[in-house]
Each structure stands twice: as C-alpha cells, then as structure tokens.
Symmetry: C2
Subunit: 397 residues, 2 copies
Amino acid sequence: MTQSVTRKHLFDLPEGVIYLDGNSLGSLPAAVPGHVAGMVADQWGQMLIKGWNDAGWFAQPGRVGDKIAGLIGAPAGSVMAGDTLSIKVYQALAAALRMNPDRRVVLSDSGNFPTDLYMAQGLLDLIGQGHSLRVVEPEAVAEAIDEEVAAVLLTQVDYRTGRRHDMTALTGAAHDAGAVMIWDLAHSAGAFEIDLAGSGCAFAVGCTYKYLNGGPGAPAFIYVRPDLADTAQPALQGWMGHNAPFAFDMDYQPAGGIARMRVGTPPVIQMSALEQALSVWDGVSLADVRAASVALMEQFIAEVEARCPQLTLASPRDPEARGSHVSFRFAEGYAAMQALIDRGVIGDFRAPDIMRFGFTPLYLDDGDITGAVDILADILATEAWRDPKYQVRGAVT
Amino acid sequence: MTQSVTRKHLFDLPEGVIYLDGNSLGSLPAAVPGHVAGMVADQWGQMLIKGWNDAGWFAQPGRVGDKIAGLIGAPAGSVMAGDTLSIKVYQALAAALRMNPDRRVVLSDSGNFPTDLYMAQGLLDLIGQGHSLRVVEPEAVAEAIDEEVAAVLLTQVDYRTGRRHDMTALTGAAHDAGAVMIWDLAHSAGAFEIDLAGSGCAFAVGCTYKYLNGGPGAPAFIYVRPDLADTAQPALQGWMGHNAPFAFDMDYQPAGGIARMRVGTPPVIQMSALEQALSVWDGVSLADVRAASVALMEQFIAEVEARCPQLTLASPRDPEARGSHVSFRFAEGYAAMQALIDRGVIGDFRAPDIMRFGFTPLYLDDGDITGAVDILADILATEAWRDPKYQVRGAVT
C-alpha cells in the first residue's frame, strides 16, 4: 500500500537521514528552491509593483486557500491562506464569540497546542466581559459542553500523543448545546481525510508547514462555513479584507465571504513557496495517504515494542483514535532523541518525556521504518544516550 | 551628492525601466534570489527541523529587528520583526490602551493609511468600553490632543501627499497631555534619518517592503520603548512571545522585553529574503540618503513644473515637510499613470487624482529623473493618456 503514495522523487531529502518529523516541519519538495528563486527574480525583480496584478499576488491567498480546501473537505471559496495559526485562531474565536453574545465560556482541552490557549486567554482578557476559558481533559470535552459554552476550540490531533478527536461527534455535541465549533487542523491537514463541510463546524484553522510541506513559517489558513462567511465579524480589520481595499476609504467595510479574513499584505515569497509545495498533492488520494500512514505507524509500533522495551507507547493503540504521529514515553527521552538525531533519525521531543515520531507516506516507506528502529534499538541497548553531549539543550527543543 | 549613495550595482533593475515606486515596493537587491534559493535548499531542505537552532531561525526576528533598529534610531533589542503592519498596529494600540485605562479616545488623522484606522476600529469595537476613534485633519492633530486622548496613532508620512509630521513635536504634545504615542513609520524607515529613541514615543511600527526593499509581503516590525518593554501587555499572546515557548505551559507568561511582541511561527523564508536585503544598507548613511532624496525630489518638481503645466503639486513644497515621495494632482491621473508605466516609468496612482512618485537614491540618480520627466512631458503634450487601453482598471490600482 505504501508504494502507491510514496513520491520520494518529488522531495529533496538529505542523504543518510530518516525523517520522522514531518509532523513538525515537512520536507522540501524538490521544485521549491528553483520556483522561489525564479519568482523572486522574475516577479519581484522584473514586474516590481505590477506583480500584484500581473503575477497574481493579490489573488494568491485565495488561490492557495482553494488548494488547501480541496485537501480538507471544504468547498472552493471557503478557505483563505495568510498570517500565522495564532492569528487565525484569534480571528476565528473573536468571530465565534460575536455569534454567541450571551454566553461567556470558551471550552478547550489540555491537549490543545498552547498557543491556541494563549491567544484565547489574550482575547478574553481584552474583551473584559467576564469570559472564561474552561480547559478540561480531552476525554471530558463532550460532557463539558453545556449551555454556558459560547465556543468550543479544539485541536483535532493532540500534538504530544497523537490522540484524535471525533470531529463529527464533537461538532454535533457543540451544536446541540448551542455552541460555535472551531477546529484547529494543525496535525490533520495533509495527514488524513477530513470532511470539514460534512462536520458542519463554523470555523477551522490550520498550518501548512507540517504535512502540507509549505516550509518553515509557511502561512496558516482559516475556513469559515459558507453560510456564515458574509456575516462573520472580523476582529482584525485589515485593509486586505476590506470590500474595496484600493478605494482607501476611511471606514472599514468587510469584503463579502472569506476574503474578510484577510488582514495585512500577504507574505508573497513565502506564499509562493507554499503554492509550489502544494503541487505535490496533485492526484494524491488522502485515503491512500492515510492507509499508508496507518501501515507505517503499525509497523513502527510493532517493531519498537518488540525491540525497545525501555519505551512505553503514549499514543492510542487504536489507529482510528490517532493522527499521523506516534509517541513513546522514556524518562531519558530528551537525550535519546538527541542521540537518534545524531545518527540521522530525526524525530522530536516534547517535555517531560515524550519521544515523538511523525509518519508522512509521501516521502517515507517501510524500509525507513525498519532502518529507524534499528538505530533506536541500538541506542537503547548500548545506552548511547548517556553521552553528556546529548544532555545539552538547545534554544528550541 | 546622489553619486555618493547610489548603489545600482547592488540591485537587479529591469532593463528600460525607471522605477519611481520604491515607496510602495522596493526594488530587488541582486543577492536575494540566490540567497533565498540557497536558504530553502540548504537550510529547510538539509537541516529540516534542526534549522530552528542550527540556522538561527528562532533568533531571526530579533536579529532582523536589530538591523532595522539601526536604521530608525532605536537601540538594539527594542525592535522585533514579524507579521504584517496591520497586526503590529493592533499590538501597539492594544498595549497603549492598557497603559491609559481611564481614557477612551484614540486620536488619528485623515492622512493615516486606512488599515491603521480599520485595525483601530476593530480593536475598539472588540474592547467595547465606549472607546472612540477621533480622526482629524493632519494639520489639526496637535490641538486635538487633549485629556481625553488615551493614545495618538499617526503615520509620520502621508501615503498620498508625502506630508511629514514633526515626530518630536507631536510626541511631546502627546506626552504633555498624558497620551501614549504610536508612530507608523511605513513611509519613513529607510527614507530618512529617524531619532526614534530621542522622540520618546512609546511604540512604533512599520513595514519593510518599501524603502527597506524587503520584497512583496516582507515582515513588519514593532518598536517598544525599552523602559516599557517588560510591562507592555501583549494582546496577541502567541507562543513565540511566551517566556518559555518550548516548555508548552498551559498558561501564557510573556517573555521579557521586546520578545513578547512575537506572535506565531515567523515566516522564515520571507524573513531570510528581508535579512539579506537589509545588507545593502551596510555602511550607508541615512543622512546622505536623505540629502540625495531631497536633491532628486527638487529636481523632479522643478522639471515637472517647468515642462508639465497640466499637473499641480500635491505635496508640501518645503522638503523638510515631506517624506521621500512627491505627488501631483491631475484629473486624468489614472490614465496618465498607465501610459507612463506602459513606457517604462513606474509610479502609482491614488484615488481620486494623485500621481505618486517615490525617490529612492540607492537605485536612482539624476539621469533617471530627467528621463522620467521627458516621457511624462511627452505623454501630456501628446495626450497619449486618451488611449482607451489606459482607462481599464486592474484589481490593484
């Protein structure tokens, strides 16, 4: 099965590396460096200001949004690329709270990525109307959705354990209770099939530098359900989301539809890298990607559990309850991960003790999995992680 | 004088073009395409996730901020690059209002760029505590700063006319009245010397794609006066501004100093283009740039007024009251600008009747000015602008 979706030839992978961190930063599609250099030289350099029209820079965030829409089960015209995921969370939550003005609770869970919680805290604090952020354990979300809840803000896949929420069920529970549902698809987009439109959720946000391989700091995206897109009130009223940005009116009038979720001038160079990177998805079935990912994960878990008894599975055992990464607990996980990286197997570490491995079938196959476990087993058997050099922590761990 | 700062060899300028729109989008420094391609291939492609430490991606926004600081009269450690100007305006104003909680008026002027006003409107609306945005004519700002004013938000140089505010005097007036001063340096940074620290203002923001030649959609920046940087409260509480982002705490704790103005994951590729672009400023004196810019503007105004009587100067005649662009009014300005662009002289148009020309002595000299006016005079004398093809308006005008 993995053979059918592996497209290693479309990626520029470093020699001697097995990359199990595409859930954090996706690999480089081989066509991107040339594309970006050409875009910079030919579009910025030669067209200069005319690039906004002639090279399609102005329309690019919507064009890229449409490409992403096709990968997350959303209709064309419902997704806009831009800014960072933090900003998109803020936009979605601010608009959601306007839709539910009589309620004061935002519900999230302890498996959410911290920036979502931080941005929510900052927003609620700014609004200053007694809103509170209720954070429960992931398993307790469904029962915590009550009539006080204005909005439910959840990341579908837990960044540490890979535990995956049931999007349809929780969206239904939110709607039954009169709450607005916001999904963060950071670890979902490009990892498996998503039926965003079918879920009925009001908003979704996500990033593109993980499974979508958009590059470091690639733009984020926001989805607004089409029937809400003309009334969702933007809190970040940037000129690019104005109904007529080049009329330079003194007063803000939101554009119709998803365009109102644009804020400032988009990062055209970075967006061009993303646009090119997304072309590796042409003709790829996410159902096939998902099947291949599950096969790689099952192989990895089986081999690790057979050969590395020092590690304990931290992810759900049932692949249906999981995204596309697998985590193991190990008390010396930080040092062990450094030793792994030193030998060319790149995963990452999340405090306090989680070794995290991402599975990206576009550029990984079963031979990579066996090769990675060979090295991991050797590091654990020889206790190579005891080397003092593996204890030193960098700025970004 | 212009000879001393002209560095055309550092730029990749299109053949046959005289570019008078560097106040909107700066020209391409010749080293950027190769630098970006190399960064993408070598850093993203080969280092992958390790680039955050090994290639210095994490530290890049502060490193770039320090480079910008040196060009705007700010100390190292007081400027952070990232996001868009709209977002940075929002951050600055939200923090300013927290510093002045008993006041309810934000003062700006009708010469401000619309997105600043829009972002302010959105913020005040969200806060919902009866704040209002008071917009007066640029000439009336000083007398409008009264004891109701919480914050004064001004763009130093008017994007249409080039009229320049007196930064020191207005900051002093704001402080005398107990208001927090925020300067938008969009048309200032890289155009002339700025003594930001000397002005005493609390916040400044700006963009880098104009005179700083950072490329389309290059990151913005924010300055916070150092004595305020540890207490300024961030409204956009992104994880990159957390005191310990990789501890993944559930609660937000702002980083010390300017780092708290970081929000989400920075656009590394776009930031790398900017970082390389800023190297053209090494060894350049902004006083020399300004003197050369004034010489070019004076030459342009004199030649246009002598040879193009159809046009009326819309900018202040005194160069001391002006930034680094010059505008003329002409009822058929839109069509005339299209005709100019068609003949290789690129300026831009701002409704209803403003033809705008930017002067960037790093890549313009006096021969360019005469060449541009030759063509402009011919277009006006022959009424070439009457051609119907010049009446068609693009998406971005």
